[in-house]
Amino acid sequence: MTDGAVSTTVKVMVVDDHPMWRDAVARDLAEGGFEVVATAGDGPEAVRRAKAAQPQVLVLDLNLPGLSGVQVCKAVIGDNPALRVLVLSASGEHADVLEAVKSGATGYLLKSAGRDELLDAVRRTAVGDPVFTPGLAGLVLGEYRRLASDPAPAAPDEPEAPKITDRETEVLRLVAKGLSYKQIAERLVISHRTVQNHVQNTLGKLQLHNRVELVRYAIERGLDD
């Protein structure tokens, strides 16, 4: 990836409130052939610098002073929808991770992940391939089940909760059980690309639903005012 022309070097920004950790991640990424265009230690700074530095990938800690990681995620994707966000969190705070993913983050990695895992995750995030750890798959599965068990929308114009197909459920469950895409493809006798598509779809539907909900909420508020 990094051997190509200069224009293909992926521009990355690292956001973490812990200086030691931030520097270590930035160094690893630089050594791994990425261009670290900016770093930030708190929420508002992250939003400002992301606007100025225009990175392609944002490596984001969720627990930030000033503005939460979820809010940063919403803000930067609002500014630049092409920006990919990879959540790198030590906390395992489920609700936050899910919220970040629904508002546009396409990957989630625990901080205990190794250096190579991180580099691989950033690489995949850069090309738009979601980074699904087993933990995230479990959360997303749970979220679809929660949406499905919620009572049906009362108003007819209310958007229907996103549904997950049986095959997508099957794929997510296997991801959550730690199987690689290759192993899943073998087991289900489908192509690697199809596995990727299924995973991407599950995430895309959640994010779309989230956006529709936000717009609807905004319109309702606007009409009420």
């Binding site: 812990h18 950790w21 030590a90 489920h94 205990s112 250096r115 059980k177 730690g178």
Partner: protein, 410 residues
């Protein structure tokens, strides 16, 4: 920099002590009441002296002197529940009853028949109220009954005045005793709620600070250790395991609230037995939190973001079954095997899967083992699930490890 300010913040937080007492004002009021009624009793006696109503006036003077000395000497006794001992209460009421019974010997028969006051007069009510504040309405009822009996004896029969006065003391003391009991109960509940709240806040604060500091450093040690290799790698692995354990601890619900060590006063002491109410024996438990504690560098736990509640017993058994499955992985899947636990909350069932990346189970081996009657770990998993009314499925795909799927109907 940031670390230093954090350390300071931890040290400077003062312990929160919240103490609101309904009882204390009552004790203060009682102290004042005893003093005022002493003066009143002496005044009443003096008025009677002027009108020459006493057959043995000096006995009356002696009694009132004793009453004055006693009241002043024991003023501090009615300042709190601890100092107001049972011995004091008994002595106090004895003096009051003695004074009532002494009245016919001091006063003229005429004065008694006219409904003249007893020697201690309304000072008696102070002794009854002390019982009420100390022990609640039952003690108050018993003491006021005693005072009633003494009054009837003093008067030599029932009269409207006597019954009226006795009833007043009775109702007032019982009402105050009841109010004190209610106040004590609400104070206990409030104190407990405050402690739970404080404990939760403390946990959240710890969670934030630990997150910022210790977890990051541990994760960092793990990461660098793995890169350096050798001895550092083992250190890193240990750091990683501690990081996971700590994260699970921080994410778990509030710990049982410990009773304060210095349970010096009544209020706090009575809270201790209530501890058992904090967790009912069969209250539901969150499977997510229970399973999260099993995570380690070799075990990944995935769960929905919401709590998955199961009754205590079922949750305990299911966790035990998962532990058995993990033991099985450790035994059969070889060194460096990894296990994944997946918790799923379906509308009608809870699903827990444990998968490893070991060589898997050779075809027919499970069936063979079953035939020979030795199933070991698999047996204990099946047994537990069967007892709970659940099912177990063991799947092994060549090259993809073994998988135990436990399903428990809700």
């Amino acid at each position: 920099m940031g670390d230093k300010s954090k350390a300071v913040r931890i040290r400077t937080r003062p312990p929160r002590v919240v103490r609101m007492s309904v009882e204390q004002p009552l004790w203060r009021a009682l102290t004042a009441y005893r003093l005022l009624t002493l003066v009143y009793a002496i005044g009443l006696f003096a008025i009677g002296w002027d009108q020459d109503e006493y057959q043995r006036p000096w006995a009356g003077v002696a009694y009132l002197a004793l009453l004055a000395v006693w009241t002043l000497a024991t003023l501090g006794r009615v300042s709190s529940a601890q100092r107001c001992t049972k011995r004091f209460l008994v002595a106090d009421i004895s003096i009051a009853l003695g004074g009532i019974l002494l009245t016919p010997l001091v006063a003229t028969h005429q004065r008694i028949l006219e409904g003249g006051p007893t020697l201690p007069s309304i000072w008696t009510a102070g002794a009854v109220l002390a019982f009420a504040i100390k022990g609640g309405w039952r003690w108050a009822a018993v003491t006021s009954a005693l005072v009633g009996v003494a009054n009837v004896i003093q008067r030599g029969g029932f009269s409207r005045d006597t019954v009226h006065n006795v009833l007043l003391v009775c109702i007032a003391s019982i009402a105050i005793g009841y109010v004190v009991e209610v106040a004590r109960t609400s104070e206990r509940v409030l104190a407990r709620a405050l402690r739970i709240e404080a404990a939760t806040r403390e946990r959240e604060r710890l969670a934030r600070d630990i997150h910022d500091g210790v977890l990051q450093v541990l994760a960092m040690v793990q990461r660098r250790g793995a890169e350096i290799g050798g001895e550092a790698e083992a250190l890193g692995r240990m750091a990683g395991e501690q990081e996971v354990a700590l994260r699970a601890l921080v994410a778990a619900g509030p710990a049982p609230v410990p009773a304060p060590a210095s349970a010096a006063d009544d209020l706090v002491r009575t809270v201790v037995p209530l501890q058992s109410l904090d967790r009912e024996p069969d209250a539901p438990l969150d499977m997510s939190a229970l399973l999260a504690s099993l995570a380690s560098s070799g075990v990944t736990v995935s769960a929905p973001g919401t709590a998955v509640m199961l009754p205590t017993y079922a949750a305990g058994e299911l966790v035990a079954a998962v532990r058995a499955a993990l033991d099985n992985v450790a035994r059969h899947a070889g060194d460096g095997a990894h296990a994944w636990i997946l918790l799923e909350d379906e509308p009608d069932a809870v699903l827990v899967s444990v998968r490893d990346n070991g060589p898997g189970i050779p075809e027919g081996r499970l069936a063979d083992a079953e035939k020979e009657g030795r199933l070991g770990v698999a047996q204990s998993i099946r047994g537990r699930l069967r007892d709970l009314g659940g099912t177990v499925e063991v799947v092994s795909v060549p090259g993809q490890g073994a998988e135990v799927e436990m399903r428990l109907k809700k």
